[in-house]
Each structure stands twice: as C-alpha cells, then as structure tokens.
C-alpha cells in the first residue's frame, strides 16, 4: 500500500478511536469521564503516533501529546505540583534534549518496517492483554474514599510537598501526621549534579577527535 493512503487510514482510525473514547467517557461518568477520556486518549494516542511515524522529529512531537496527557491525568488525580513539574521537565526539558539528539544524528527514513511493527504489537499486545485480564481477575485493591468526581481539591499538594521536602522527620499538621523527606531530597540533588557533570564530560569531544582546521582555528 502507498504511504499516503496508509497515513490517511491510520489517522482516520485514530480520530475515530478518540471520538469513541470521549463517548464512552461521557456515558460512563459524565463530564469528569470526558476529561479522563480526553487525557487518556492524548497519552495513548501520542504514544501510538510516536511508534507509527517514520520521521523521528514527528515522533518526538507526538511524544509531547503523551507527556501533556499524563500531566492532565495528574491534575485529575489531585497532584497539581506533579502536573506542573511534568510539563516543565518533560515537555520543556526532556523533549528538547530528545530533539537535540534527533537533530545531531542522521535521519533514517527507511528504518520503520511494518512487518516488525505488526509482530511487536501482536507479541506485546497479547502479553499485556493476558496480564491485564489475569490482574483484573485476581487483584483486590483497598481503595480509600469515593472515585474522583472531577472536582479537584482546592488545597492542592504543592504546599504539602514543599514542607515535606524540608522536614527531617514526622511532623504534625491539621490534616494529621506527615513524613519528612529531606534526606531523599538531598540525595536527588546529588544524583542530578553527578549525572549532569558526567553528561557534560562524556559529551565533550576530545581534542584528538577535532579536524585539523578546527584545531588551527
């Protein structure tokens, strides 16, 4: 089949699937269901597009939909700080790094093989389906409180996270006892410093690799 026709079929099916997801969400849980379906579809649709696209640049931009959709799911889960961090770090930082990697390396437009794509999707899809059914059969999770009704809590979690990061031990608040995470916070800072210094060191071109005219200049 020709590439444009394949492309049209793929995006038509994807759009149809998205509309179905929104409809199912509306029927199951009203407008909060629509919000969930929208973000879930952004997440999964972006991931499917990323795998499908031939060009790495288009895949990277499809990944933006995935990261933004995950941020939306975080908002629905009342994790507002994480949603902001997700957009700042993933969309603003990691995606930019990926685009750097894409643009500093040569493109290879004939690398995608539909047969391998189909085989991988079949293999992993069958495994995921089997595991999913197995888990829904056997797992009984203890669930606190009511399901989300779409009204995100007004207090949010940013302040609690900020105080928790700087507390050395358990402390009392009006909501109950909270744990301190200062050791983990410092550890994360050290890990980031070491990793970034190491990245700069590895990425640096050695003087012996430079071309003679670069050396002269």
């Amino acid at each position: 089949m020709k590439e444009p026709a394949l492309q049209r079929i793929f995006y038509g099916a994807l759009a149809l699937l998205g509309l179905c997801a929104l409809g199912v969400g509306l029927a199951k849980a009203g407008w909060s269901g629509v919000a969930f379906a929208l973000f879930a579809f952004m997440t999964l649709g972006g991931a499917v597009m990323c795998i499908w696209e031939r060009s790495v640049v288009r895949s990277a931009f499809a990944l933006m939909a995935t990261f933004t959709g995950v941020a939306g799911l975080f908002v629905l889960l009342e994790a507002d700080f994480l949603a902001m961090a997700q957009i700042l770090i993933y969309v603003g930082g990691i995606l930019a790094l990926l685009l750097f990697a894409v643009m500093l390396t040569p493109p290879d437009l004939n690398e995608r093989k539909l047969s391998r794509l189909a085989a991988g999707a079949l293999f992993v899809g069958a495994g995921a389906l089997y595991l999913g059914l197995k888990i829904t059969d056997t797992a009984h999770w203890f669930v606190r409180g009511a399901p989300l009704d779409g009204n995100v809590a007004a207090s949010g979690s940013a302040e609690r996270i900020g105080v928790g990061f700087l507390a050395a031990g358990p402390y009392q608040t009006s909501a109950g006892t909270e744990l301190g995470y200062v050791v983990a916070f410092e550890l994360a800072a050290i890990v980031l410093t070491v990793a970034l210094v190491a990245a700069v060191y590895i990425a640096r071109r050695k003087p012996s690799d430079l071309q003679p005219e670069e050396k002269a200049g």
Binding site: A47, I51, L76, L77, A119, I161, E178
Partner: protein, 100 residues
C-alpha cells in the same frame, strides 16, 4: 473514574513503550520508549497515592522518577552523541565495541 481506569491507561502506556523499544532500530526510539515506560510508572504511583491510604509517598516517588528521567535523558544524549562519533551510526545493532 476509579483506580482501575488509571491502572489500565498506565498498563497500555507501558506496553506501547515496550513496543517502541522492540520494533524501532534507532537509539532515539529506545530513549522515547523508556520515557513512556517511566511515565506509565508515574501514573501508577500517583493513582495508588490518590486511591490508597498513603500520605504523600506516591507523589514523592513520582517526583524522583521525573528527576531520574531528566538525569537519564542528559546522560543518554551524551552517550548517543559519542556512539555517533565512534560508529557513524545510531543503530543499536552496529554499536558493538567498547573501544575506539
């Protein structure tokens, strides 16, 4: 929406990340697949934090996953650039030497 819906989305995202790693022959796609898998884990952490009786532990774990993903992306970019300098290719099957 209950816990099951979020776990289902997370599982699907994990599977898609695994497919990206398995079927594409390009280091960049492997990095993208890893990011998808880390995001799937994050959805799980936050969902279980919201629906379980844990206080902030799930969200703290998710923050560390994001921090480690950022560090991983920086180091991975450096490694990809070095592999490209050494092998003139970023196909994982062709990078098979540890020395120049």
């Amino acid at each position: 929406m209950g816990l099951g819906a979020y776990v289902a989305v997370s599982g699907a995202l994990f599977a898609l990340g695994l497919i990206a790693i398995l079927v594409r022959r390009n280091v960049i796609y492997i990095l993208m697949g890893i990011e998808m898998i880390l995001n799937a884990a994050n959805i799980n952490f936050v969902a279980f934090n919201r629906f379980g009786s844990m206080k902030l532990d799930g969200q703290m774990f998710a923050i560390f996953t994001i921090i480690l993903a950022a560090a991983e992306a920086a180091v991975a970019l450096a490694i990809v650039l070095n592999v490209f300098y050494l092998f003139d290719s970023i196909k994982p099957s062709e990078a098979d030497l540890l020395r120049e």
